[in-house]
C-alpha cells in the first residue's frame, strides 16, 4: 500500500476526529435524547484506556495478539460499563446539579487513580509498551489500518444511534428527557432506563478509550483531562445535540477543522506548536460552546424532527 499522500499529522488528525466523533455520538444519546449532562465523558473513556493499557502491558498473557487485544479490550469495555452502571445508579435520580457533581467527580477519581497507582499505570511518568494487535508493514500502514478499523467502529455507533432514533427505545429516551414524571406515570421505569443507557454508552466509551490506547502507544495522565469531554461536547452542541448527524457534522467542524486544517496547513509560528496551539484550541472550543448555546442552542441542524421521521417510517 502506497501511503505517500498521507502524512503522519493527517492520520493522527483523522484518528482524533473519529475518536471524538464516537464519543460525541454516545454523548448524544445521553445528552441529546435523555438530557443527562455527562461532564465526565473523559472518565469513562479514560478508565477504558487505562484498564486496557494496564492489562495489556502488565499481565503476562498466555496468548498473543490479536487475542490479547480482544481480551484486554473486552475487559476495558466491561470495566467502563460497570463504572457506568455505578455512576448511573448514583446520579439517575438526581437533578442536573447532582449529575454534574457525580460525573465531574468520577472523571477526577479516574485521573487521581491513574496518578496514584503509578506502579501499575506509570502515573505522571506515563506508560509505554502498547502496540497494534497486528503488523502489516510500515508504521504508517499499521496506523492507517487502525484508523480504518476505528472509523468502522464509529460507523457502527452511528448506525446504532440512527436506529435508536427509529426505535421504541429512542422514543422512551426522548420522553424521559422531556418529562420524567410523565414517563413514569405511563408505567416506564425511568430509573432503570437511565441506568441501562448509562451502562451501555459508558461501556462503548470505554471501548473507544482502549482503541485510543492502541493508537497512541503511550498512556499519559495528561491525555485524560477535561479537554476530551470538551471536544465531544462542543462538537455535539455545534452540530446539534438532538440530531443523529449533529455529532458528525459538529466534530468535523471543530476537531476536524482545528486538528487537521489549522494545525497542518496554516502557517503558524513553529514555537506555537508545543504549547500555544493546544491552549488556543481549548479556548476557541470554549468560546464556540458559549456562542452556539446563546445564539443557536440547538446547533446547526436544529431540533429533532420527529414529525418528518414519523411520516417517513409509518406513512401519513
Amino acid at each position: 500500500m502506497d501511503l505517500k499522500w498521507l502524512d503522519a499529522f493527517l492520520i493522527s488528525g483523522l484518528f482524533d476526529v473519529a475518536m471524538v466523533m464516537g464519543l460525541a455520538l454516545l454523548l448524544h444519546l445521553q445528552l441529546g435524547l435523555g438530557r443527562i449532562a455527562n461532564f465526565g465523558v473523559v472518565g469513562f473513556w479514560g478508565i477504558g484506556m487505562y484498564v486496557y493499557g494496564v492489562l495489556y502491558v502488565q499481565v503476562d498473557w498466555p496468548f498473543g495478539d490479536p487475542w490479547q487485544f480482544l481480551v484486554c479490550a473486552a475487559a476495558a469495555t466491561l470495566a467502563a460499563g460497570v463504572a457506568g452502571l455505578l455512576i448511573g445508579w448514583l446520579i439517575s435520580d438526581l437533578d442536573t446539579d447532582g449529575v454534574l457533581m457525580g460525573t465531574l467527580g468520577f472523571a477526577a477519581v479516574v485521573q487521581i487513580l491513574a496518578t496514584t497507582q503509578d506502579d501499575l499505570t506509570g502515573g505522571a511518568r506515563g506508560m509505554g509498551g502498547l502496540s497494534f494487535p497486528y503488523d502489516i508493514g510500515t508504521v504508517k500502514q499499521n496506523e492507517f489500518l487502525w484508523l480504518a478499523i476505528t472509523a468502522a467502529v464509529v460507523v457502527v455507533i452511528l448506525l446504532y444511534v440512527w436506529w435508536v432514533h427509529r426505535s421504541p427505545y429512542g422514543r422512551l429516551l426522548i420522553a424521559i428527557g422531556g418529562s420524567e414524571p410523565l414517563a413514569r406515570s405511563l408505567g416506564k421505569s425511568t430509573f432503570l432506563t437511565k441506568l441501562g443507557l448509562f451502562t451501555v454508552t459508558s461501556a462503548a466509551m470505554g471501548f473507544l478509550g482502549a482503541m485510543n490506547g492502541v493508537f497512541v502507544h503511550f498512556l499519559d495522565i495528561g491525555t485524560i483531562g477535561v479537554a476530551v469531554t470538551l471536544a465531544a461536547m462542543v462538537g455535539l452542541v455545534l452540530g446539534g445535540t438532538a440530531r443523529v448527524w449533529g455529532a458528525v457534522i459538529g466534530v468535523i467542524l471543530t476537531v476536524g477543522l482545528f486538528d487537521i486544517v489549522v494545525q497542518s496547513y496554516l502557517p503558524l509560528p513553529r514555537e506555537w506548536y508545543t504549547q500555544a496551539i493546544p491552549v488556543l484550541r481549548e479556548a476557541l472550543f470554549g468560546l464556540a460552546l458559549i456562542l452556539v448555546l446563546v445564539f443557536r442552542p440547538l446547533g446547526i441542524l436544529g431540533d429533532m424532527r420527529r414529525d418528518r421521521l414519523m411520516r417517513k417510517i409509518h406513512g401519513r
Partner: protein
Amino acid sequence: MEFVTQSLVIGLTENAPLVLAAIGFALLYRLTGLINVAYSETITLGAYFGMWINTTYGLDFYAILIPTGILAGALSVATYLALFRPARHHNVGALELIIISFGLSIFLRHGLQFVFGYPERFYDVPSPDTIMILGVGVTSFRLIALLSVAILSGLLYLFIQRTTLGLQIRALASDEDLARVSGIRPLAVTTLIWFIAGVAGGLAGAFYGVGASVSPLLGWRQFLLILMVALVGGSWGLGGVIVVGVATSVALAGMALQFDQVLYAQLVLIVAFVVILKVRGSKLTETAKV
C-alpha cells in the same frame, strides 16, 4: 491528639479560602439556581488581579484586597449581563446554562494560559514568619488569611442576614413571584448577587494566590471541592456551607497526614460527597407534578 490538632491547624489555615469561595458559589446557586462552573475562573482571575495590582503598584497585600474584590465582582457581573442574562432571555434551558458556564470556564482558563503561559507566578510579598500553633508551624500569611477569611465570611453572613439588601436577596431566593409583587426588582438584586459572589470568589483567589502561587488552573483545581461543599452544605443555608466547608478543610488536612498521597484525601472526599448527595437525593423525591 497531636493528629487532631495538626489536622485542625493545617486544615483551617491552608483551606480557609475554600470556605469563602464556597459561600460565594452557594449564594449564586441558591439565588439564581445556576451552577456556575466559570466561578472557578472568577477565583483564578481574582488571584491574577491581586497579583497584578500588587506587583504593578507595589501595594501591600491587604491594600490590594479592596480593588481586587471590586474587579472580580465587576467581572462576575459582566459575565451575568453579557452572557447568562441574555441566555435566560433566549429561554435557554437550565442544563444548557450549565454547559455555557462550562464553556466560559474553559475559555477563560485557556485564554489566561494563552496570555500568561504555564509558569506559576508569585505575589511580591515579604517572606512570611513561621509561627508555632499547637505544635504546628504555620506561616504568618496563612494565619492572617484564616483571620481575614473568618472576618470576611462573618461580614458576608451579616450582610446577607442583617441588611435590607440582604433581605431582598433572601426574599428573591425564597420565592421569586412573591418577591416581585412585594416590590423587589429582580434585575438589581440579581446583579448585586453576582457582584457579591464575584467579590467572595476573587478574594478567595487572592488568598489562594498569596498562600502559594498563581496559575491559570488555580481555580479549576478547587472547583470540584467548592461545588461539593456548596451543594451539600447549601441545603442548610449559609451556615451549613461554612460548617461543611470547615469540616471538609479539616478532613482534607487530616487525611493528607494519614495517607502517603494527598490525592487519596480528595478521592475519599469525592466519594463521600457523592454518596451523601445520593442518600439525600433519594429522600428528596417529593411531590412530582403528575
